[in-house]
Symmetry: none
Subunit: 181 residues, 4 copies
């Protein structure tokens, strides 16, 4: 799975052949099909694991925090930290979103992740810290968009450190949900 992840991320899912994977691993084709039903299933499994892992990371980060705003911040920071370490998985997630075969599998995981944020936003609204005319769902997605795009641009493309980028992401997002221009 690790090797497949790196090949898929580097060249794309379709341009990577099962042959290439097993050859690169120095094993026969048989073992591939012993462990996976198909190339598609390998991809799906990688995808599931990645989403599970990211989720765990986010949960751990906010576990001890009661303040919803702080939980949002910690969640964002955890996401960026994870993204920095899982460049390849992140690329695969991005690709999965572009192909009919995989969107379904992707959706569930992303829905769960967003639902978390939505919960925090709602709590903050209840506490009167975010305007109550705001749509929690929209705010959550906006923050996901900021985090994702800045990760790809500044961490992946420009090689900046996740910590610094996270500061900016948090700043922008908190202003976005709390600010009053």
């Amino acid at each position: 799975m690790a090797f497949g992840t790196s090949r898929f991320a580097e060249q794309g899912y379709h341009p990577t052949s099962v042959s290439e994977i097993v050859t690169g691993l120095g094993v026969g084709k048989g073992v591939f099909y012993w462990y996976f039903d198909s190339k598609e299933q390998l991809f799906l499994e990688i995808l599931r694991d990645a989403q599970t892992d990211l989720r765990r990371r986010q949960q751990q980060a906010i576990a001890e925090e009661d303040d919803p705003i702080r939980r949002i911040e910690l969640g964002l920071r955890a996401s960026l930290a994870w993204a920095e370490e899982h460049r390849d998985h992140n690329r695969l997630i991005q690709f999965a979103a572009t192909e009919a075969t995989f969107v379904g599998a992707l959706r569930r995981g992303q829905d769960i992740a967003v639902a978390d944020v939505v919960r925090h936003v709602k709590e903050a609204i209840a506490q009167g810290r975010i305007r109550d005319d705001a749509d929690p769902d929209l705010l959550a997605h906006a923050m996901v968009g900021v985090a994702g795009h800045l990760t790809r641009t500044f961490i992946y493309e420009r090689g900046e450190a996740a910590g610094g980028v996270a500061d900016s992401v948090v700043a922008f997002c908190l202003r976005g949900i709390l600010g009053d221009p």
Copy 2:
């Protein structure tokens, strides 16, 4: 190109065969290769056209506006309007970002688009309307991230109207660049 765009968007670039395209069009395989050197070139041509068209739309939207903040807003609204009408092209752009063969072609167009926004942000900073410790580049990308993600989620997935989503995008982004939490 129109038909290819829709097939590519629906099933993905690789799962769509040249055969399928020409059959769906009711023409022979030869015509395809009369007009395009390869399947790859067709994709590249679609990509280029899409980026050119979006750019034109943005330029037209801000042509008469002097205020940089208003230009940012109009640019965002124009992007969402275009995205609503060019769902398929947008998906192709997303896919292009995931495959080595196409990233190069994509980059240039996106760099130009972001450069525009950066210019407006800098102008607003010069006017003292945005804190001068902000990184214009980062702010620009953050807004691109918000617009892109909310478009995909609310316009494409949930079928909401571009106008309403644009209001939210603008609100979030302006708070993000101007707000003081």
Copy 3:
């Protein structure tokens, strides 16, 4: 026909497309099929013309000569001279011998050419100048083989002048039919 000949000779019959021929000539595909029924027919026509032309050259060379041995010599020299000027046609003849579609068309012309030489040999045998236990047909083909191979090796590959090579061909062949080791 001239252009086709050169392309066929340079790259081979199959690797040369009709498209390449008409493009190289700056004309449309229509004209090609106005003058020739097919690519195959063009080749056949080139082949026929080449054989006719070679034959004419040989006939002219021996027209005024009565001595059969001298006629053989003059015929050989004429063949080499023609071959020097018609490198491309010669290559096509060689190719034609390797493909089922063309062997038939080739045979006739070659039979005629050999028959000429056979006639001279028989005459020389009748005059008692060549041993009467010799097979005229075999002697004729042997000489054709010498002429053909030395042409390809020394004139085509090594770029030597036809005149000098012809001297050697004649010397070897005359010893071959007359000599007594």
Copy 4:
């Protein structure tokens, strides 16, 4: 390789498709590409093997013989015997000479074969048995030409036995190199 040889020889290299070869063999298309990189490579491999085999046959034939003239004779006889048994390979060699892609591969083998004969001729000249004004290279090629052409005409086309044709080839060639008309 055996089946490919016969198809190539019968219809020509280009008119023979990989499809036809694997179908005729009752195997899947994949096996072909498991053993050969391409159709071209199959041809090249056949060519190389044929040349190697012919060479070995010639070497064996002359191994125990000291007299250079006798070595020439034995070499010619070995060549004709081989040619009788390898009709198809011989045709392929002939075709290879007409296409740019293959001439290179052909040349080396033929150069080696001729170099052998040249060596014998030179030795015979040194022994004073062949006129010392003769060009060994030319004599060698002349003999190759005789052997090749008579093989094709009398063995392949007319179905005569290699033994009888070899007698004629040897007689003609020895007169050609030794005779004094």
